[in-house]
């Protein structure tokens, strides 16, 4: 059972996302369009409940049992798609549809982590233009959902699991290649391969297959692992930064040099962070830290957002910058490498020297 949004909720959401307030949003609201969108998003049958039709308890949104992840993602995308087709505030279709989708998920106990805005914007654009089928967008969204920790019914829900891999699922994801990027979905699980004879190194996900590392990216991964072991720590973002600092001819280092930042300065900042981290790794084990895992997800998203079918050092650098308030972000900021500046420098570097290319060699290669 899902909790729906109504026209009034759309007015509140639009007022908030556009910064105009509810009254101004309501005065501009195209009510027939809003109703058409909501009707289009409403599935046949008794599987939804309108929040407005429930007795309203002041200060509380009625809580229903949380729908499963797949159903929630599909319903949210259906709503967004309908709102994109029938924009209730002409000229603001995409931000309002996206905010409504996020709010729909929230009232149904789910939280979306769309932490790479550029990749999200490309996905919404694909959905709006019709180039991205809603089923693919739903798969993309599904991988980014987590139960809302503040949801009152979370104790009644089971552990969330991604749907099993299947040929049908891979086929369903394949049309994403039609839009700007080749690989359009980033499911939760991924494996990092350092390669072996005959097998290239890269990141493999069920939906994208292998996205090979460029030579400097592979060296970054290997060096970051070595640095983590040297410090007796699990591989974290600071070790990835150390790995990046060692790649002389990489897009990431050259982009930072465009900002007047030397490799030595990057290395020193990264070493400062590792010096403050506590050794935690157990002998023989090298668990990736949660922060590093988030960076890896962001690295994948950055590659997708750039339309690249490989993983380069620029994706690592941008992945490191995706999460605010981390020691690495602060360290880079102290050097003058804020995200916007870095993005601009990477764009300029790629335009000048071209992007990095996937490694031609197979197996581990350490410079």
């Amino acid at each position: 059972m899902m909790t729906e949004l109504d026209v009034a909720a759309l007015a509140v959401i639009a007022g908030q996302v556009l910064g105009t307030g509810t009254d101004a949003a309501l005065s501009q609201l195209d009510i027939p369009a809003a109703e058409a969108a909501l009707a289009e998003a409403r599935p046949a049958g008794p599987e939804t409940v309108s929040a407005a039709s429930r007795p309203h308890r002041p200060g509380s949104t009625p809580a229903a049992a949380r729908p499963d992840r797949t159903a929630a993602a599909a319903a949210a995308v259906t709503l967004m798609h309908a709102l994109l087709r029938h924009p209730p505030l002409p000229g603001h279709g995409q931000p309002v549809a996206t905010a409504a989708g996020l709010q729909f998920l929230a009232v149904n106990g789910w939280q979306a982590d769309l932490d790479v805005p550029r990749a999200t914007a490309i996905t919404i654009q694909g959905l709006a233009s019709g180039q991205l089928p809603p089923a693919d967008a739903a798969s993309w969204l599904e991988a980014r959902l987590s139960p809302d920790p503040a949801s009152p019914d979370r104790a009644t829900t089971t552990q969330t699991q991604l749907p099993p891999r299947s040929r049908a699922r891979r086929i369903m994801l394949a049309p994403i290649a039609a839009i700007r990027h080749r690989h359009g979905s980033r499911p939760g699980p991924f494996t990092i391969s350092l390669g072996s004879p005959g097998k290239p190194a890269g990141i493999r996900t069920p939906a994208t297959g292998l996205m090979p590392f460029t030579d400097p990216a592979l060296s970054t991964v290997i060096l970051s692992g070595q640095q983590a072991r040297r410090h007796g720590q699990p591989p974290g973002p600071e070790h990835i930064l150390l790995g990046l600092a060692g790649q002389d001819d990489s897009v990431a280092v050259k982009a930072l040099q465009r900002l007047g930042i030397s490799q030595e300065a990057i290395r020193q900042q990264a070493e400062n962070i590792t010096g403050h981290s506590q050794p935690q790794a157990q002998p023989g084990q090298a668990p990736v830290t949660p922060q590093a895992r988030r960076v890896w997800h962001a690295v994948l998203d950055e590659a997708v957002a750039h339309g690249d079918n490989y993983i380069g050092t620029e994706h690592f650098l941008l992945g490191l910058l995706c999460h605010r308030d981390t020691p690495v972000v602060h360290a880079l900021a102290s050097l003058g490498a804020e995200e916007n500046e870095v993005r601009a420098a990477i764009t300029a570097q790629r335009a000048g020297s071209g992007p990095e290319h996937p490694a031609r060699r197979h197996g581990v290669h350490v410079r």
Binding site: V17, V107, P117, A121, A150
Partner: protein, 47 residues
């Protein structure tokens, strides 16, 4: 008062209730706070 005005007033009353709904408001504010840059990028997307 014509029909659309009536509808708009009814929606305004419901919207007022939504705004007083603490959970709804918190969820909305949290979502927008966690995705601050997204609306700007999406506005750039608009044709």
């Amino acid at each position: 008062m014509n029909m659309p005005d009536t509808a708009r007033e009814a929606i305004a009353a419901l919207a007022q209730a939504r705004r007083k709904d603490k959970r709804f408001r918190r969820q909305l504010e949290d979502n927008l706070a966690r995705h601050q840059r997204l609306p700007h990028l999406l506005r750039e997307n608009q044709p």
